[in-house]
């Protein structure tokens, strides 16, 4: 899998590169970038499978990179990798279009696994992220005005998110709820969809941004 690492700290990029080098069969780092402009250029040039994206980035933050490349490289997935675990950053990045959010204390093996899962089109929810998602839908975190149809989590989705927040792995969730791992992942991606498009207003904008209207 081809990966671009975007982070404004050189030391950290080097660290990620060396951690990922431990799994050369799975992941290759094809480019690095330190700010929004170079990141956009690198992503458009390399068209990687996954972009490891810092949330705080000179030039407008990681969300800006997603926003500017979403239409030009539709196949590329974004995995936020940040030291910040503030709810606003986490939810904001997911709403911006990242498929997952992991903090920088993650181990190398876990990171490789997360990259693989994001590349396959699934979402990566850490327990903390699941907690924020539950909070966001419960209204404790201010995200935006809610639209009643789209914004509710179904009973099952809530259950899945609660188990993830309790520290269960995907296959443990599947076992607990007597469903398949594939179903767990379906629930996750519909949570992600609801999180990104929590109102009809935004749904319209989303569609028009992609020239679907």
């Amino acid at each position: 899998m081809r990966v671009v690492v975007v982070d404004d700290h050189h030391m950290f990029r080097t660290g990620v590169r060396s951690e990922l080098a431990a799994a050369p069969a799975a992941v290759t780092v094809v480019a690095e970038a330190a700010d929004v402009d170079t990141a956009v250029a690198a992503v458009e040039r390399e068209r990687p499978a996954v972009v490891l994206l810092d949330v705080h980035l000179p030039g407008g933050g990681g969300v800006e990179v997603i926003r500017r490349t979403q239409t030009t490289v539709p196949g590329t997935r974004f995995l936020a990798l940040s030291v910040s675990d503030a709810a606003e950053d986490v939810i904001g990045t997911i709403r911006g279009g990242a498929r997952g959010y992991v903090t920088k204390t993650i181990s190398g093996a876990e990171l490789v696994d997360a990259i693989g899962r994001v590349a396959d089109g699934d979402a990566v929810f850490s327990p903390r992220l699941a907690g924020f998602v539950l909070d966001a839908f419960a209204g404790a975190i201010q995200v935006a005005e809610v639209d009643s149809d789209l914004d509710r989590l179904s009973e099952r989705e809530r259950e899945v998110m609660r188990l993830i927040a309790r520290g269960y792995a995907y296959k443990e969730v599947a076992k607990e709820l007597f469903i398949s791992v594939k179903t767990v992942e379906t629930h996750m991606s519909s949570v992600l969809r609801k999180l990104q498009l929590s109102s009809r207003h935004e749904l319209t904008r989303w569609a028009s941004d992609r020239r679907l209207l």
């Binding site: 980035l57 000179p58 503030a86 606003e88 903390r128 005005e145 259950e159 109102s199 009809r200």
Partner: protein, 469 residues
Amino acid sequence: MTTTAPPTAPPPVPRRAGRDLEHGLVGGVAAGLADHLGLPVLALRIGFVVATVLGGLGAVLYGAYWLFLPAAPLVDRAGAAPGLAGAARDGRRPRGLLGRPAGRTGDAIVVGVLSVGIVLAVEAVVGRGALVWAVALVAGGVALLWRQADEVQRERWVERTERMDPVGMVLGSGGWAAWTRIALGTALLGAGLVLLGFRDGGIGAAREVVLAVLLGIGGLAVVVGPWVARLVRDLGEERTERIRSQERADVAAHLHDSVLQTLALIQKNAADAATVARLARAQERDLRAWLFAEERPGSPGAGRGAAPETLAAAVRAVAAAVEDDHGIEVEVVAVGDAPWSERVQPVVAAVREAVVNAAKHAGTGRVDVYVEVLAGAVDVFVRDRGAGFDPDDLPADRHGVRGSIVDRMVRHGGTARIRSAPGEGTEVRVHLPAPDEQAQQPGQPGHPGQPGRSEQGVGSTDAAGRGVR
């Protein structure tokens, strides 16, 4: 080891109204007041418009609020965690991260249509069309210009540079919205004045009125302008300098108290990997809380001794203490929160026992704690992936589980279930219902009720644990 401090009432924070510039249509007065009073925004907006019709009180009130209410974001920004505020200042976070709320345009249209309708209605009743329109136009122009100045004021807080150039004061960071607003405002003012002039005579009189007003404004600007500009600049410089030095002092103090001390300890203990890891973890947790957490753990160095203010903070403090004492990693995820009270105290004590048990017996480096407070009921799950045990097989002398967790919760009107199997880790679920869900009086230690309680908990664990979900 941990002192779960006696419950203290949080100090009352005075609620101050402010203008909500993020969600406002004109000056954010209605949005700010709506937030303050807990009323729907649209109702307040319509209220203002209606009050304007009935003798113009609404407009006067709105103007007065606009002038005298402080803008809310100033307060918010001061309260943001330093790491987030710093990243935002450097442009490393997007502005308005969470997007504008939906429904804004709809509201604007409603209020706009209402306003036009009211002008028309007044015209129909009073019959002096020209004057009403003129006054409306002038008022609209002034409001637009004032709003522009307001926007500039708001950008100044975000701005890093301390100098304010006069052009910037009017234009802000430019952009088509600012220009349009200024052009529209000026045009409205001009049109209003011309209309006023027309009332008394022909085009000539109108021109004279406009000229006179312009000359008056120009003269005033020449006389007072430089003085005002200078005053404003000096004030701004002084204020930014003060804020900067305060911030620098704060950061320096915190870094000294925490990071430097820890680095010194790490250098001294460089050979002892376990100690270094423990120190680094404790420091990371502290710095992370200081930089990113919305709920600050109080003064620097707080954590163990300080009184927690909420349930989640108390659980985090417990987790932190166990992390330090036992050298494991405890991840706490909290959804919802409840104020700290006598009632939730047994939950925290039970959680502490469960986490300590996991640290001692599970033989794994990591424990997940999930706190959920929904509709008043408190659920806490403590999970590890360690050795596990057979709950039915629990030796009778294991007081930790039976006494400290299960019985304690039952005594206080809650439940605790332990679910474990050898090799599959352990999960402890602690549940405390909301007071009204409960039959008995809450929070009385040693309450005589609940006979036959010990069959509850441990015995029914595995099946019950599964049944609960």
